[in-house]
């Protein structure tokens, strides 16, 4: 079987070099582009995101990246959101008093974590649910987080025949969503491309779900 193809969506979101190289190391055939055709055709789409919720959302809308994500999901095609690329999948984000509409794939609001020390910066553990494919074999590893905001509630449930979303939690002054596996839509609040060997293994786990 040939390597799965992954497009890293290039909409002007900071550092994407490591994401491209980490995916290659994990076994993907990777291209960095904002071309809608290529982004639709790839086996997987990686949605990076660094900066503020509002800035990331504005850049996505401007480059029509949100439409690419919507169309892929409508066709059941896999998407992986990372960091703010995960946050914008929720209904809204509130940062420094600015309330911004997100892509609304999931209900809920992303807001400031309740720790006295922010950003939550560094290597933390996660609590992955039974049946996780993403964390298979790496449930006890640490992953690299850097963020001050997060989704602190999860309300979406599964109704048969739609499977229950698998939610992974982490803690920094209170629990927040560290990762979600929900049909074709997967996301991590941490940076797998900055999480050393554990991160590469997580990406390889995601690649295995692509086809």
């Amino acid at each position: 079987m040939s390597a799965p193809s992954v497009v890293v969506l290039d909409y002007g979101s900071g550092n994407v070099h490591s994401a491209v190289k980490a995916l290659e190391l994990a076994g993907a055939n990777v291209s960095l582009t904002r071309n809608a055709g290529e982004a639709q055709e790839a086996d997987g789409l990686l949605l990076p995101g660094v900066g503020s919720f509002a800035a990331v959302m504005a850049a996505l809308v401007e480059s029509r990246g949100n439409q690419i994500v919507d169309r892929r999901l409508a066709g059941g095609r896999p998407v992986l959101g990372i960091c703010v690329g995960m946050q914008v999948l929720f209904e809204r984000g509130v940062e420094r008093g600015v309330d911004t509409e997100g892509m609304g794939e999931w209900p809920g609001t992303v807001d400031r974590l309740r720790s006295p020390i922010l950003p939550h910066m560094g290597w933390n553990t996660v609590t992955a649910p039974e049946g996780t494919a993403l964390f298979n074999g790496i449930e006890d590893e640490r992953f690299y987080f850097v963020h001050s905001y997060g989704a602190q509630d999860w309300s979406l449930t599964g109704t048969a025949p739609i499977a229950e979303p698998l939610v992974t939690w982490a803690d920094h002054g209170g629990r927040f969503v560290a990762a979600v596996e929900n049909g074709p839509l997967t996301a991590t609040q941490f940076h797998p491309e900055k999480s050393g060997e554990a991160g590469i293994r997580l990406l390889a786990n995601w690649l295995r779900t692509l086809r």
Partner: protein
Amino acid sequence: MSTTPTSLAVRVIPCLDVAMGRVVKGVNFLNLRDAGDPVALARRYYEQGADELTFLDVTATVDDRETMYDVVRATAEQVFIPLTVGGGVRSTADVARLLASGADKVGVNSAAIARPELIAEIADRFGAQVMVLSLDVKRGGTTDSGFVVTTHGGRTETDIDALEWAARAIDLGAGELLVNSIDADGTREGFDTELISLMRSVSSVPVVASGGAGEARHFPQAIAAGADAVLAASVFHNGEMTIGDVKRELRDAGNTVRE
């Protein structure tokens, strides 16, 4: 400030001084084909379990800076941990270029002293997590805290109180403090734990302790004083201790580390 209920590991960060694409000062590694190659050295530390890497660009001229971008790019493609780059960062354009090359965080020092608004500009455009305020701090001066901010590697004293500067930078949007003690730097007698604990008391962002590490036992002292991360250069470069040695010492002292 109360301790945070978190399972976050304390971070161990080697720092490389780079000029014209070469590591300068104190690298003496056996079994490394090119000890002056920052990318090779970064890879070595990554394999040893470093939690992050810091490059300090000590290049003198604008032309030489081009080389730094190449070094950052090559490192980011091989080393899958966060990379901070500091030295000579003066504008949001410099930051954009470093991030596009593969840096995750950018250390800002004298340019922020000259024009504090730069901190807000960087934080607003790229997020606070990118904006690391780097401080070279010395005891003395006429400041309230007894600690003063210096420039030019400690040779020039300002009249700025180090604690007031840190608090102001955090208000402006700094997402992390890299606190380097000029007094302790190079002594190998341990971190300035008094400075670290004062910084912790005014800081709502992570504090990285730098300057003075000479033995593995010095690292847990910095954490006990309130640091979230420890940074060192020469003790790692000259092969005296590995990242693993430092983590073992930290773990033995009751700290959480990434294995």
